[in-house]
Amino acid sequence: MTSVTDGELQPQPLAAGDGGIDAAPDGAIRRRRSAKLIVGLGILCVYVIMAVLAPVVAPYNPLAQQIPDALAHPSLHHLLGTDQLGRDVLSRIIYGARVDLVAATAASVGACMVGTLIGLLTGYAGGWLDVALTRVMDMVQTIPSFTLLLVLLLVLGPGARSLVIALIVTHWVVYARLIRGSVLTLRSQDFISAAWLAGLRVPRILLRHLLPNVGRQAVTYLASDIILAVTAIASLGYLGIGIQPPTAEWGSMINDGQDFLSSNWWLSVAPGVVVVLLGLGLALVSDSFNERKDRL
């Protein structure tokens, strides 16, 4: 912190001329941007390491119960204490990364692919296909997404796979609308007409000519969409209809710890902070993506 304040109070000596005056804030902005990206990527790295190396990093088996040790306070043996069944909270959080991070990524990437394809198709083809699929998008968006998620989970049953499918069903619409809008404006451009006039087939026009033009938007949105997916998964776990116990999952851990808030508050707070930090890391990264896009 201090170094930043120092920098602002004592601007570096400027070269003579207008360029120097302009260059200083520009440099500061750029430094702040790359700081954002570095911090965000650092946070994400920690989570990815947690997920990949969970068996190595975690001190205990996340499912091993030691009832006599239940509700232990933080100590050197159990850095974050134990829950009501005597399971090590830190190990459960570390293993939780495998569940939450992987499910959120799978759901967002799946929604991104489905939505982008549908957006390309409806935007380019137009006609009845566009009308029909746009109505489907309207329908999906009219229903509050959380309600739709709950209903889908009731139908599909609990579990990671149905969670991912349900999230894809509720999330693809935004991608499809985004891409469809861009394709509509691109479609009338000469280079797309030229591709059509060259006798190219529709799949080739969609994937080789339109996708490179719109893919960037989808990926930029993907970076912020993962946050929504993470919070949705944690919320559903908290409500007990997402990923089922005994699997270690942050949302259900928050729920489990709720009964012991007065004595063992860290049981709920620790996984909560973990979710929030992941959201922060993702937000920082997607933010700096957005700024980078503006600059190009």
Partner: protein
């Protein structure tokens, strides 16, 4: 084809007596608008012979671009097209969509007006040029790439191999237009349709591009249908010219004859609006009045409200593009002989 009789064609083409490459008969395009239907193209017929170059000249809104786009099938969905378009004797609208797609790109190709928007901004230039041969000749990727580089150097780009790896925004306007020409030639088309391809370029560059286009088309025997508002460009590039006004042809013929001796008052006024390059210095004259209202076109000859020598009967006589000799046609009542050019040319001046 009486109007083409006695005209010597370019060497290397055997167009005489053969079917025209592109034959358009009675083509009309109607564009519905909120205030009513606009007949953007009103029953035009023309032929483009193999290896020849036909220019379509007219002011903005005369329907020349719509005409070109209707041949390509690029009109907005609400446009209504009637008439026949034959390519090598085959009616285009009668073809199955798949066959028509194969004719596109192989027999016909196109050069658009704006080199900025006619290239895909996020794909390398070489890949875009290679795509046509890749699809139509089922070449291997490397062979198609090599062909793209070859084409780029043929259109006068140095370091073609390096330029092929660049993105469109890394090219200058002239290079982009050259790349577009390379793309249009990539599948050895029989005819290239050009929609004012030089309008976005400055005059020196324009001249170079026109010369390049002319040379490439002569060498390969490619026919051209060239749409422009610029008679000077057309006179340099084309063999024939059709002058278009308010959706109709008002005069057709060999470029040199039309320019030397116009047979329609609109052509005359158009020529008079250009400053003469040689000869005595005369101030160019603008064409008085406004372009015609396309929703309610003037009766009779559509040019009569702006014509300096209009007669009372010009407001009533039906449109008739008649033969005026030497393979030329004109819709003007004075078209049979030299025009009664006004002495004091103030009639067309503001």
């Amino acid at each position: 084809m009486p109007r083409h009789e006695g005209v010597r064609w370019r060497p290397g083409t055997d167009s005489q007596g053969a079917d025209p490459l592109l034959r358009v008969r009675n083509l009309s395009v109607t564009l519905p608008t909120r205030r009513g239907d606009i007949k953007a193209v009103d029953g035009v017929s023309f032929d483009v012979l193999a290896g020849s170059a036909l220019g379509l000249v007219g002011e903005s809104g005369s329907g020349k671009s719509i005409l070109l786009r209707s041949i390509l099938g690029l009109l907005p969905g609400e446009a209504r097209v009637s008439g026949e378009i034959y390519l090598e004797g085959q009616e285009l609208n009668a073809l199955a969509p798949k066959q028509r797609a194969m004719s596109r790109g192989k027999a016909i190709s196109v050069i658009f007006q704006d080199p900025m928007t006619a290239l895909n901004p996020v794909r390398r230039v070489g890949a875009q040029i290679a795509e046509g041969p890749l699809v139509h000749y089922s070449l291997r990727r490397s062979a198609a790439r090599a062909r793209a580089v070859e084409l780029l150097s043929e259109v006068g780009i140095k370091d073609a191999a390096e330029v092929a790896r660049r993105y469109p925004h890394e090219l200058s306007g002239g290079m982009r237009q050259r790349a577009l020409i390379a793309m249009a030639l990539a599948c050895d088309p029989k005819i290239i349709l050009c929609d004012e391809p030089t309008t976005a370029l400055d005059v020196t560059l324009q001249k170079k591009i026109i010369e390049l286009l002319k040379k490439l088309c002569l060498d390969r025997g490619v026919a051209l249908l060239f749409v422009s508002h610029d008679l000077a460009v057309i006179s340099e590039l084309c063999d024939f010219v059709n002058v278009m006004y308010a959706g109709q042809f008002v005069e057709t013929g060999l470029v040199s004859q039309v320019i030397a001796n116009p047979r329609h008052m609109y052509t005359w006024a158009l020529l008079r609006s250009l400053p003469p390059v040689d000869g005595p210095r005369v101030a160019p004259l603008s064409i008085g009045g406004l372009p015609p209202d396309r929703l309610h076109p003037p009766s009779g000859c559509r040019f009569h409200p702006r014509c300096p020598v209009a007669q009372p009967r010009c407001t009533a006589l039906p449109y008739n593009l008649k033969d005026v000799g030497q393979g030329r046609r004109s819709a003007c009542i004075f078209g049979d002989a030299a025009l009664p050019v006004p002495q004091e040319e103030s009639g067309v001046a503001r």
